[in-house]
């Protein structure tokens, strides 16, 4: 077997990181529609909300499956510690995503039973978003491990801190959802989206702020990383605030595209801050990306196929968004 000539693990960190942020941004705005669903002004608005994501939501979720399988291949330790530790949460997330997906399809084909599918869509979106947020909180908290195995309890992932990160991501997805809706809707529905966006932005900033203050208190490593001296890292929260300000200004000026773009920026800068807070640990507090990595030849074997396929997936996704660009008209139903 040949010795590794370059560090595939680092490449895989990039691939998985890219997959995760793609998933969060893309599925975020369509989960957001579900979270905002119960608060929509009327049923026509709900139709528009659903129609605005209907052509793409399925493609958005492929990133989750790709991420799950990719983790097993490239960082098996992450896969075999996160999933047992988050056992109940993973189940809730999957059940929620399944209900939501089925609701999506059958709501458009249903009339009398439509309200049931509405609830499945809203409930599924909310639970899935919350569970994903709790995963982030658990990652910051760290995992109880021994000899490369999870040895903690079934509900270690459910603490006041992870509940807050769960709620935080629900608010974040709602913000992605409302700014997406500004982009895709018009008339009274767009007015409503303009109205709720600053409130959601405020909620996101408050919750992200509390998480930012709380994290160093529960994790010494993170405290050390951020407060052991002047750090380049300090730029990241400033960038996040800059994006938040941009969202606010764009909404006030009633610009249509920028609120969404700025929200994407807000999410990406938060994600980067999170990664650098814990770097190089992927199963904190004990294991780094390199401890968690699979064998060189396994990483290489999959990389070859991925390099071939990912460009196609990206091109195809871009094409879908292009085809379905423009406003979703109220009253232009599905069938």
């Amino acid at each position: 077997m040949s010795e590794p000539v370059f560090d595939l693990t680092l490449i895989w960190v990039g691939i998985i990181g890219f997959g995760i942020i793609m998933y969060v941004l893309l599925d975020g705005f369509d989960l957001g529609q579900g979270i905002l669903f119960p608060f929509a002004p009327d049923d026509q608005a709900r139709d528009v909300m659903m129609n605005s994501v209907a052509p793409v939501w399925d493609a958005n979720e492929t990133w989750l499956v790709l991420g799950g399988a990719g983790l097993l291949a490239a960082f098996p330790l992450v896969y075999s510690v996160f999933l047992p530790a988050l056992y109940i949460g993973v189940f809730l997330m999957l059940a929620a995503l399944i209900f939501r997906g089925v609701a999506f399809e059958f709501r458009f084909k249903a009339n009398k039973s439509r309200f049931l599918w509405n609830w499945a869509f809203a409930g599924g979106s909310f639970i899935a978003a919350f569970a994903q947020g709790a995963v982030v909180g658990t990652y910051i908290q760290g995992f109880e491990t021994e000899n490369f195995r999870y040895v903690g309890g079934a509900l270690d992932w459910l603490t006041p801190f992870t509940v807050l990160t769960g709620v935080g991501l629900v608010a974040g997805y709602a913000l992605l959802g409302s700014t997406w809706l500004i982009l895709k809707s018009e008339g009274y529905i767009q007015d409503w989206a303009y109205k709720i966006t600053p409130r959601l932005l405020l909620a996101v900033l408050v919750i992200f702020g509390i998480i930012g203050v709380w994290s160093p208190m529960i994790d010494d490593f993170l405290k050390e990383r951020w407060f052991s001296g002047v750090s380049l890292l300090w730029v990241l929260p400033l960038i996040t605030l800059f994006f938040a300000g941009w969202v606010y200004r764009a909404v006030k000026k009633r610009q249509e595209g920028f609120p969404f773009v700025a929200t994407l920026g807000l999410f990406i800068s938060t994600f980067v801050a999170l990664i650098f807070s814990k770097w190089p640990y992927v199963v904190p507090p004990n294991y780094t990306f390199w401890d968690a990595a699979s064998a060189h030849e396994s990483q290489l074997f999959l990389l070859l196929g991925l390099l071939f396929v990912v460009p196609f997936i990206l091109m195809y996704s871009a094409w879908s968004y292009w085809v379905f660009r423009g406003k979703v008209k109220a009253g232009v139903g599905y069938h």
Binding site: E61, A69, A73, V102, F106, A110, A154, L302
Partner: protein
């Protein structure tokens, strides 16, 4: 009673994988059938082929969608309940399962969209090509999954370093001793599934006197196909069994319900295996036949369950009966295929009421046979998760408690009950709407490749118009 996380995890895996398996096993066969219909239309320009293709493409879309949804759960099961197994085998299993995901996505991204929605938008040849590529893609998907499973049955090409298996040879690990038998057994099973469903649905339409010309064509060609592949499956199954005898003798002993190693072993038709007392009750058997079948010699020697210690024996009752259900249904399928041949004269295969009713009933048989077959091979491997290398107990997630496992088991049953009911109910609506419904070409802006279900335009409730 203490809840056993091991037993509950095994039940959970059996449940979710059985539930998932019935969708791909159908779509693999159906994809090839649709490609064939498209090919016939391309060549003969007979619109009957196109109408059939349109109808079955709708069915394909619904079933494919359900398969994707239930498949998401599968990709997390290995980590949640079998984390020690995942961790130890990830160097092989990770890339292989990822390749399956990649194949599926590639297929969806490129060709499924064209196949489902591009009929009037791309040249006919391109549409046919897309249908062929979708069919090819289902084979490639099956390749990866069955390769992963075969490694668990007849491991090879791996090297243990510490607690982790490393891949010493990709060729050996991907193509293990049982792979080719398993692959062809499964592909032909998929064709049988597609064949009997198409035959059953066509028969149902014929019984109702709907679209007689198209359905008669569909039934006729399907019966020719079944006439070849139903007996072929018996032959492949036989080879598969011989390979199992060589590599997993205890599994074969459980399939035959044979406790004592011996020569001139009888074939047991009926028995109630008794694991505890290591014998069978109420045996009905045919002398020397098992030896004859498995060694092609009536005095051939066959292994017995008592060859290995009690804790290395699989649950005999399940394996023994699952095997009989599978073979029994297979024989019934062959019977129906041959009956179709004898009813050719005067086209009675498409008019005989009892035969058509029988075919409608038989459309469920391949699903039961496939699940039973998987029970034979998976339960028959017990107590091994990776044969000879790792037991179920060793592969289990160490932090998993009985309560957690029970919670998710009940949860998955509830979730699947809801989506399965909705899916099957909707599929029935598509069948009721029938081939006639494909004539009004509905072009909807929302039609999109990534949402296969949107290719079906039948309303959810009865009496509604789309």
């Amino acid at each position: 009673m203490e809840l056993d996380p091991l037993l509950l995890s095994r039940i959970q895996f059996a449940f979710v994988v059985s539930f998932h398996a019935i969708f791909p096993v159908f779509t693999i066969g159906l994809a090839s059938y649709i490609a064939l219909l498209e090919g016939l239309f391309f060549k003969t320009k007979n619109p009957a082929w196109e109408r059939l293709a349109k109808f079955w493409t709708q069915v394909f879309a619904v079933v494919f969608g359900m398969g994707v949804v239930s498949g998401i759960v599968m990709s997390f099961q290995f980590g949640t309940n079998w984390s020690n197994f995942s961790y130890a085998t990830a160097n092989f299993l990770g890339p292989v399962l990822s390749y399956e995901v990649i194949t599926a996505f590639f297929l969806e991204a490129g060709f499924l969209g064209v196949m489902l929605f591009g009929r009037n938008k791309v040249p006919k040849g391109v549409h046919l090509f897309a249908a062929c590529m979708v069919a090819l893609g289902t084979f490639i998907s099956a390749f990866w999954i069955l390769s992963a499973n075969s490694l668990m049955q007849t491991p090879a090409g791996l090297e243990l370093r510490g607690e982790i298996y490393h891949v010493a040879s990709w060729a050996e690990a991907l193509f293990t001793a049982s792979f080719f038998y398993r692959f062809w057994h499964m592909i032909v099973a998929s064709f049988l599934t597609g064949g009997f469903v198409v035959a059953g649905v066509s028969a149902w339409f014929l019984l109702k006197g709907r679209e007689v010309e198209a359905n008669k064509k569909a039934l006729s060609m399907t019966l020719w196909l079944l006439l070849i592949i139903a007996p072929a499956q018996l032959l492949i199954g036989d080879f598969h069994g011989l390979s199992t005898l060589e590599h997993q003798p205890t599994k074969v002993a459980a399939m035959e319900g044979n406790w004592e190693r011996g020569t001139g072993v009888p074939l047991i038709l009926f028995a109630i295996p008794d694991q505890e007392n290591e014998k069978n009750h109420f045996e009905i058997k045919i002398p020397k036949l098992a030896s004859l079948i498995l060694t092609h010699d009536s005095e051939g020697e066959l292994p017995g369950l008592l060859d290995v210690p009690a804790e290395e024996r699989p649950p005999v009752f399940i394996v023994f009966w699952a095997f009989r259900i599978m073979v029994g249904l297979g024989v019934l399928m062959i019977g129906f295929a041959f009956a179709g041949l004898f009813l050719r004269a005067g086209g009675r295969f498409a008019s005989s009421s009892w035969y058509l009713k029988g075919l409608v009933a038989m459309s469920l048989s391949p699903f039961i046979a496939v699940v039973a077959g998987w029970f034979v091979t998976e339960v028959g491997r017990a107590p091994w998760l990776v044969y000879g290398l790792m037991t179920h107990a060793e592969g289990l997630t160490p932090s998993l408690t009985g309560g957690m496992a029970l919670f998710t088991l009940i949860g998955y049953i509830l979730v699947y009950a809801v989506i399965f009911s909705a899916g099957v109910y909707y599929l029935m609506r598509v069948f009721q709407a029938g081939i006639e419904a494909t004539d009004d070409d509905i072009e909807v802006e929302s039609d999109h490749a990534k949402r296969p279900l949107s290719a079906a335009h039948v309303p959810f409730e009865q009496g509604d118009k789309a």
